[in-house]
Amino acid sequence: MKLLKNLLKSPMFVVGISLFLITILVALFGPLFYEMNLQRVGMPYDAPSGKYWLGLDNFGRDYIALLLRGLSSSLYVGLIAGVIATSIGTLVGLYGGFKGGIADDILSVITNLFVVIPQFVILILISSTFEKRSLALVAVIIGFTAWTWSARGVRAQAAALKSKDHISLARLNGDGIMKVLIVHVLPYILSYVFMVFILQVSSGILSEAAISMIGLGPTGDNAISLGVILNDANRYGGLSGRFWHTFLPATCVISALVFALYLINTSMEGVFNPRLRK
């Protein structure tokens, strides 16, 4: 509670969380108030008008409906990828950092291997092996390639806790390693893990946009994400034809979403880390 109060004192956090909540509310409740017609309603690239505020896309579909659907898809991918990446990273980092020795060496080598191979290359390779890709599959692929940074961060935190007295005492109480990790280590780094999670969500959203932009995103008629919208704009000449309404809104939404998440993350660091506290 006190933590929340401190967080709310930070203007960065207030701006970030408001922006994020607004996008979530829009994604959740927008479709209830807006007629979600994803069929062709007019001529391709019709300019914004009184009826269709952001105009029509290359297939003559209502752009606002596309954006709403795309936003919820991107959030969905981001959250799933974030949960997967954070869980794997936390488990690997906790165990390796705490256990030390050979287990840690092996896990570190694997982690570093994933770090040096650009995540995007692996993403492209894995994605291109699947003919059909649902949103969930894209999210899972992103999650499984993005965990390395969280593993490194968590590992450092867990290793620092290793020599603390309360850990020694827990061992003297006969607690096994899993109990020590979950009961005596994890709570101490939970705030850090939460921050990692937020970053993983935002990088998941960005990864989805990037992979979709080059045409390896979710497939199928109903698969519409912010990245897919950008890909369409690129592929069907929205970009080269300078129809700004086909790419600018989607770009702005992605930027706003990621910006909001980064603001939340940065402001939390200021509250959780006593040294940065003002």
Binding site: K164, D165, H166, S168, L169, A170, R171, L172, N173, G174, D175, V183, H184, P187, Y188
Partner: protein
Amino acid sequence: MQNSDLKIFDASNAVRTFGHGKKLVTAVDGVTFDIKDGEIVSLVGGSGCGKSVLAKIMLGLHRQTSGTFLYKGKEITDLKEHWREVQSVFQDPFSCFNQFFTIRSQLKAAFGIYKTKPSDKEMEDRVDQALLAVNVKPSEVAGKYPFELSGGQMQRMLLARIFVLRPQVLIADEPTSMVDACVRANILDYLMKLKEELNMTIVFITHDIGLAYYVSDRLFIMHKGKIVEQGAPDDVTVNPKCEHTVQLLEDIPEIHKEWIKR
């Protein structure tokens, strides 16, 4: 019950190093000693002399890199078994408890070391008794978290844990360094009470040779990982043979020194 021939700890040329190559640090450098049943032995030395590492070897939290280190004549292999008999009080009471759980639940968690836990009723009763043994009313700490208690209270909670577990051997790693003089006297009293009640063997680790003189049967003086002098408190303090002992004796406040001479 007491068997003064039984060697609780028997170390011969025990070494503990950390790291390797150029970064090799020798924390405990070939110590040879034994500690007999029912003894109170003080391990005295300045910061970084390796006394805490030696304490962790006794606890089985570290293993010697070379040499032998025996507990009751045997290598320490089964740690849970070891911890049923050998327990510890640490230096900083605040860092010893998990701040996310209540004190009481953590005192109860100590029963985890037993093969079969006693009934819930018995555990509660024993925690209550242990709290009373260190002069804390159970209601005083009911529902409290570690950060809600004072340093003196926390140190007593650590001792209460020992009263709960009733081990045969206690490794007390600077249990009085973080508390004021008044609480220090209290804690020493509790240690003596434990000793009397349970016939416990106590290894008392401290940088304060005056304090060590007051409580122990024998003194071990440590310097740079080695035990440079060992013997009865009177011998060591009155006729120090080693310069490091002299140094430690000179460092204690005057009023203390008078008291030792007396």
